[in-house]
């Protein structure tokens, strides 16, 4: 059930209405949300709900056992934690990486002179598995670290694991953010309603009017047949893809946050105008914030973070970024994508090593920040080739075509130019502009808000190119 489908809008309306009608019946409203969340997930494939609930039961039980295990039994506690994390990683490896590992292992053995044939492994990837396993793992590790108590109620833990607005593509809500909200009596005020509707509308506009437009009119074509495009056209295609993926994913996040807000739940933000970043490190603090925070918290810091020698810090950065790349998919393109980002961050750190503690780019004149933004942005844009291309060979094709296909911009139509310009202007505009619009919308009377949203809906119909298109991050 796609967020941009009519079915989801009807589903959301029914769930919200039922939830608030059941407000005074604590378990009733929790059960209502749980059933709705399960139905939402089962709309993709009913079989995999057992996978989520099974894994959740295991993690919940491990959390309880951890809580009951005395702190003076550190080895036992660690084994319990590793047992839980191992199951989650095992699921992830089986469904997402098994084919990749086997294929590369066979290729490696063949280099040694063996003549093995890789077996064809076709395992359907359950939607959202990378998100819900990470969320569950974080919970168990937090309980192990005693950063939070274990959840006692299995039903509530199921709801934490399946809460539909963030189930299939995040934001990855760590337990200390989401579980307490599921405990508390929900509240809803006028501000919540206005905020939620604004976020949902904003998300749909980003998705339909920008991301889908660019995908269907330029990006898909450029990556499908790069030999037909000139170098500058391919570069414009990369700018378009960079905007597309931001609008697609942040649009999804907006709808998720808005939907949750209507149920009295506040999900964490996932984006902070990432293409305004002045360094690659800053980019990762602004892009898919919940994933990079997760990896920082559970991988980078335990590895030692930036403490220790420069080389250890670089090593930790590279490991973390390669894992970020690999999280997106079982493909060498993603490994390389993470690796070059890691190298860029390490290089950034080397450049900044002599700066005093506490120094930030805010101290620099705006001209210097401008070119840093430009350089970082273009690094991100070019790295997107690896993110979008289905193989290293295809990435090479796109790169060669970009460098060697001559000049001209004849194939970029006016509509695409307009969407690109509007999209990037909105992204790079001072944050105050959007905030002002947001504030004004909240102050409007309900009828005016409804009329404005209806106008947006009709406008979406005018620019929509086709039926609801899946979100890119559903595949991860």
């Amino acid at each position: 059930m796609l967020f941009n489908s009519l079915l989801y809008m009807v589903f959301l309306a029914v769930v919200v209405a039922g939830f608030w009608l059941l407000l005074r019946w604590r378990w009733g409203r929790a059960l209502w949300l749980l059933v709705a969340s399960c139905l939402f997930y089962m709309a993709w494939d009913p079989r995999y709900i057992l996978l989520i609930l099974g894994a959740a039961t295991w993690d919940w039980a491990m959390g309880r056992v951890l809580d009951a295990t005395p702190v003076d039994k550190p080895l036992r506690r660690k084994l319990i934690m590793l047992g839980s994390v191992g199951i989650n990683l095992g699921l992830l490896c089986y469904y997402k990486y098994l084919g990749f590992f086997v294929e590369n292992a066979v290729a490696g053995l063949n280099l040694l002179g063996l003549e093995l044939v890789a077996p064809a492994i076709k395992v359907a990837l359950p939607v959202g598995i990378s998100f819900f396993t990470f969320q569950s793992m974080a919970y168990v590790i937090d309980v192990y670290r005693r950063e939070m108590p274990a959840e006692r109620n299995l039903l509530r833990f199921f709801l934490f694991a399946t809460f539909f607005p963030q189930l299939v593509a995040g934001p990855i809500s760590r337990a200390h953010i989401l579980l307490p909200q599921l405990h508390r009596t929900p509240k809803l005020d006028h501000d919540d309603v206005s905020e939620a509707l604004f976020r949902i509308a904003k998300g749909l506009v980003k998705k339909v009017a920008i991301a889908d437009w660019l995908a269907l009119n330029l990006v898909d074509r450029v990556f499908s047949q790069p030999h037909l495009y000139s170098g500058p056209e391919i570069l414009i295609g990369l700018y378009a893809y960079t905007l597309q993926i931001y609008c697609d994913f942040s649009g999804y996040t907006d709808v998720a946050i808005g939907s949750a807000r209507l149920l009295g739940v506040r999900l964490p933000e996932n984006f902070d105008r990432p293409y305004r970043a002045r360094t690659v490190a800053e980019f990762w603090r602004k892009w898919h914030i919940t994933l990079s925070t997760w990896l920082r918290h559970y991988v980078f810091f335990p590895l030692g973070g930036s403490k220790g020698s420069v080389w250890m810090a670089h090593r930790n950065t590279l490991i973390t970024l390669v894992l970020i790349g690999l999280w997106h998919g079982a493909n060498w393109t993603f490994v390389l994508y993470g690796l070059i980002h890691g190298i860029a961050i390490a290089w950034n750190r080397t450049q900044h090593r002599n700066y005093p503690r506490g120094w930030t780019h805010d101290a620099l004149p705006w001209q210097q920040n401008l070119w840093r933004i430009a350089v970082t942005f273009h690094f991100v844009v070019l790295a997107r080739i690896l993110f979008r291309a289905p193989s290293l060979e295809a990435a090479g094709d796109v790169t060669r075509a970009m460098l060697g296909n001559g000049w001209g911009l004849a194939r970029i139509d006016n509509g695409t130019w307009a969407v690109l310009i509007v999209g990037y202007v909105a992204h790079f505009a001072p944050p105050g502009w959007a905030e002002r619009l947001h504030r004004q919308f909240k102050q409007w009377p309900a009828v005016a808000q409804g009329a404005a949203l209806a106008g947006v809906a009709v406008a979406m119909g005018a620019v929509a190119e086709t039926d609801a298109v899946p979100f890119i991050y559903f595949q991860f």
């Binding site: 489908s5 079915l7 589903f11 407000l23 939402f40 089962m42 709309a43 993709w44 494939d45 009913p46 359907a124 939607v127 670290r145 950063e147 939070m148 108590p149 006692r152 200390h176 579980l179 307490p180 405990h183 009596t185 509240k187 005020d189 006028h190 919540d192 309603v193 995908a215 269907l216 009119n217 074509r221 499908s224 047949q225 790069p226 037909l228 603090r285 980078f300 810091f301 030692g304 973070g305 295809a394 094709d397 194939r411 409804g450 009329a451 209806a454 106008g455 809906a457 009709v458 119909g461 005018a462 929509a464 190119e465 086709t466 039926d467 899946p470 979100f471 890119i472 559903f474 595949q475």
Partner: protein
């Protein structure tokens, strides 16, 4: 990453107090604040939603605003699937990513079959799969035997749309294929003219590869020096052209002498102008056929792989269409052509091999078949005599749908065009291939553009009168509203007119099967017996079933993906 610190595990003595501060409601689950029904905010939400729904309904209630409907329907299938515990029927569930966009995505047999109206597993030659280079060699030898003439039911699958008309009209082409397969003839040439759907050699490339696998690889075929637009391409051929060439094309009719060559776009340049064309080792060539028009005097030098070849000194009288062939070793080649003296009008170059089938892809963006009336009849006659295609496929109409032509006017012009292409030859087969489906929005749904249906009907009616067979492309795509479904399934672009790379593969296979079905029907109805029947098989002959054809398709797929 920001500066890090190691995770600090709170000491047991501090944990309880930290817990209570951070999780007031847990784990003892105090209910927290008393539940207050948010009547005001919910009323606001209801008002906003009501106005939103009413406003959004306008395009659905007022027909004139039908194009402003974002959602065409409430697709409750996902929820029904969840409620009835039914797994999705497709191999991959919804939302697994932007499938249509991947260059390496192979269409599964099932996808192609569904769109072409053929049940999966019925032997339609699926493209997916992999094969090694070694597989290709024995296959190439194998397919030049008479086995190539055996058309199995498996191969044709359940495609329902075939060539229409008197199958005897296929005789020149079918006999040529038969002779080629039996080793009595070296070449069979197909010329496929059309519009933007062909301009990048997408679907023709697929049809070419499939036919090569069956009848032998006769080479790339004809390619222009440069297209009228930058969209023009020929798969596996790289080109570079100096800027001084002047181009003439049949669409604008800007050549006084009406000579536009075989592909409809020709270039003219003086001394010093040059162009280069290269073919790769994967799709090699051993013959370079140059097609040109004599302007009286002029000369052209050719270097193949850097080595000078025999110089061309124009000897034909001015105004004569001419051709010249250079033989080279079979393989990868780069060729550089340079006007040494005088002026030269170059129509294009055909890269061929000694033996096999040649499929010329001759598409131009914006092309209209009716504009060929601007070509000079005598020039066309000479051109066709030089190139001698055995099959003409005229695949126009997609752009004429915008021209508001009357039936009489269209039929009259296209009749003239068919005569122009046939050039008085009796040894050529002609197919009028109707335009592919073009979608248009009506009432929020994608329907077939009525103009496409109209023009297809005109072509169907006129085909027999001009001695051509007819192929209903829209019907082969799935009939009414087909392009809407193709776009949805990643086979068509969102302009509801053009094919994605995957759509081109599907179309290429549809054409391939249609030609083979025509050949089989010709074998039965004209020759009286299908080749491959028991009496016709040599001793030890093994009838190739779908596996044989599939292996061919795998080789093709592999070659295509490299």
């Amino acid at each position: 990453m920001s500066a890090a610190s190691s995770p600090e595990i709170p000491a047991p003595s501090t944990l309880r107090s930290a817990d209570s501060a951070a999780f007031a409601a847990a784990p003892g689950e105090p209910i927290g604040d008393p539940a207050v029904f948010p009547a005001g905010p919910l009323a606001r939400l209801a008002v906003v939603a009501g106005v939103l729904v009413l406003g959004s309904l306008v395009p659905y209630l007022y027909g004139g605003w039908a194009d402003y409907r974002y959602w065409d329907r409430l697709d409750a299938d996902p929820l029904l699937r969840a409620a009835t515990l039914t797994p999705p029927s497709r191999a991959e569930p919804e939302g697994q990513g932007p499938k249509p966009n991947s260059a390496e995505d192979d269409l599964s047999d099932g996808d192609v079959a569904a769109l072409a109206g053929i049940a999966a597993g019925h032997g339609a030659p699926g493209l997916p799969g992999s094969a090694t280079e070694e597989d290709a060699a024995p296959l190439a030898a194998e397919v030049t035997s008479s086995e190539a003439l055996v058309i199995t039911d498996d191969l044709l699958g359940k495609q329902k749309t075939w060539l229409e008309g008197d199958i005897r009209l296929l005789t020149p082409f079918a006999q040529a294929l038969t002779d080629l397969a039996l080793g009595k003839r070296d070449k069979v040439r197909i010329g496929h003219w059309g519009d933007s759907h062909l301009a990048n050699d997408g679907l023709t490339h697929v049809a070419r590869l499939l036919l090569h696998a069956r009848f032998g690889d006769g080479g790339h075929g004809f390619t222009l020096v440069q297209g009228r637009t930058e969209w023009y391409a020929h798969k596996g051929i790289e080109r570079s052209v100096t800027a001084g060439w002047k181009d003439f094309n049949f669409l604008s009719g800007n050549a006084r002498d009406g000579s536009y060559g075989y592909g409809g776009v020709t270039v003219e340049g003086g001394a010093g102008e040059q162009f280069s064309l290269s073919v790769s080792a994967k799709q090699p060539a051993s013959q370079l056929h140059l097609y040109y028009r004599s302007l009286g005097k002029g000369s052209l030098t050719l270097k193949v792989d850097g080595k000078p070849q025999d110089k061309l000194e124009v000897a034909e009288p001015a105004g004569t269409e001419a051709a010249r062939v250079w033989q080279v070793a079979d393989g990868k080649h780069s060729s550089t052509w340079r006007v040494a003296a005088g002026r030269m009008r170059i129509h294009g170059v055909a890269f061929e091999r000694e033996r096999g089938l040649v499929y010329d892809s001759l598409g131009e963006v914006g092309a209209r078949g009716t504009r060929w009336t601007q070509a000079d009849a005598e020039a066309m006659r000479q051109t066709m005599q030089l190139r001698k295609p055995d099959l003409l496929i005229l695949n126009y109409g997609g752009n004429e749908r915008q021209d508001n032509m009357s039936e009489a006017s269209y039929v009259a012009k296209m009749t003239e065009v068919v005569e122009l292409f046939k050039a008085g030859r009796s040894d050529v087969t002609c197919i009028l291939m109707a335009p592919s489906d073009h979608g248009s929005k009506k009432g929020g749904k994608i329907i077939s553009d009525p103009a496409v249906i109209r023009i297809s009907g005109w072509q169907k009616k006129m085909a027999a009168g001009v001695g051509c067979l007819y192929f209903d492309t829209r019907e082969a795509m799935g009939g009414d509203g087909a392009m809407g479904r193709w776009v949805r399934d990643g086979l068509g672009w969102s302009d509801y007119s053009h094919f994605t790379a995957q759509g081109e593969r599907a179309m290429g296979q549809i054409i391939y099967r249609a030609l083979l079905e025509g050949l089989r029907r010709w074998q039965v109805e004209v020759k009286g017996q299908a080749v491959g029947s028991a009496s016709d098989r040599p001793e030890g002959f093994v009838r190739p079933g779908s596996d044989g054809i599939r292996s061919a398709a795998r080789v093709l797929s592999d070659r295509e993906n490299r």
